[in-house]
Symmetry: C2
Subunit: 183 residues, 2 copies
């Protein structure tokens, strides 16, 4: 078995495809046991992203229903977005909250950081629990207002059963907040 700390060596990297949003890189790897492989991975912006679990009171979550182009469907999840240049994660979280649901938060608590599909991406998302909400709207770049949906956190099992609540990071965030609050 390979030493867990001995990373494979990247012997060659090459950009093999590029669009306005995405870059795809091919890398040649030599593992510590001598095995060679060619992998592809997405070249990230490195900007990082945030997701916010907003609670309008001690019992009630707020979610948004938003069009998702990948699945061509409206899906339910927590507000999220990319961190802008020069922003801290917490600032981005408060901005996204105001853009997507029309609230700011006086009490933003970082829950965790998680990675999306690390086999292919270097995409880190910081998850926040937002409490002490106050009305505050910012103009975002959404093509249409997002539908805001409130949900009692004690009914999280029903939320998990919704066919449009399926996004992995939203599920993880819900269950971490449930655990933290011991609902």
């Amino acid at each position: 078995m390979a030493d867990e700390n001995q990373l494979p060596i990247i012997t060659h990297r090459q950009q093999v495809a590029k669009s306005a949003l995405f870059g795809i890189e091919q890398i040649d790897l030599t593992f510590s046991n001598g095995e060679q492989r060619q992998y592809e991975r997405m070249m990230g912006s490195g900007r990082g992203a945030v997701m916010i679990v907003p609670m309008i009171d001690d019992e009630t979550l707020l979610l948004v229903r938003e069009y998702c182009a990948g699945t061509h469907s409206y899906l339910l999840g927590f507000p999220k977005g990319l961190i802008d240049e020069g922003e801290l994660a917490e600032q981005a979280a408060n901005r996204e909250l105001q853009e997507e649901i029309g609230y700011g938060s006086d009490k933003m608590h970082q829950i965790t950081e998680m990675m999306m599909a690390p086999a292919f991406f270097n995409a880190k998302m910081t998850i926040f629990l937002a409490k002490n909400l106050y009305s505050a709207e910012l103009e975002g770049d959404e093509p249409e207002p997002l539908q805001v949906v409130s949900w009692p956190i004690k009914d999280y099992k029903e939320l998990l059963q919704q066919t449009d609540f399926t996004e992995a990071r939203s599920i993880a965030a819900l269950m971490l907040v449930r655990d933290l609050l011991d609902v």
Copy 2:
């Protein structure tokens, strides 16, 4: 506010980049309020994927530590993989288990289905809890044997604190199994 059921209309689609593994599509959208946008999304294989939470006994999870090219690091998570053509999700789960940790399962229970980053992907993953494990090895395409790590499920909070246990779908799967088993 747009009717939640009224999907935007895709007025034009065009492949704008392609590599051996990935295809990127540009789509022109007209939302129900008349707003127009141009988005990019990944063209999926449509094959779907599985993730398996294996328990070697009633108290103990098995995880794998595996090289992830996107982050260029070894990360801890549950066994997973793509569904092969002609396979059912449960068959794929049992195959991946044998390839990655050297066990088959007599008792595979589907926990949920989740989507990864539906804004960009149409990538569904079915999550299984695997019990009644028996020794059975299948040759996979891994460049090196994966390090298998056992973890008492009651210590899930410590697992969440590991800096290499950060993959969103593994976190979601852990917390769903914890909830299901009421640990």
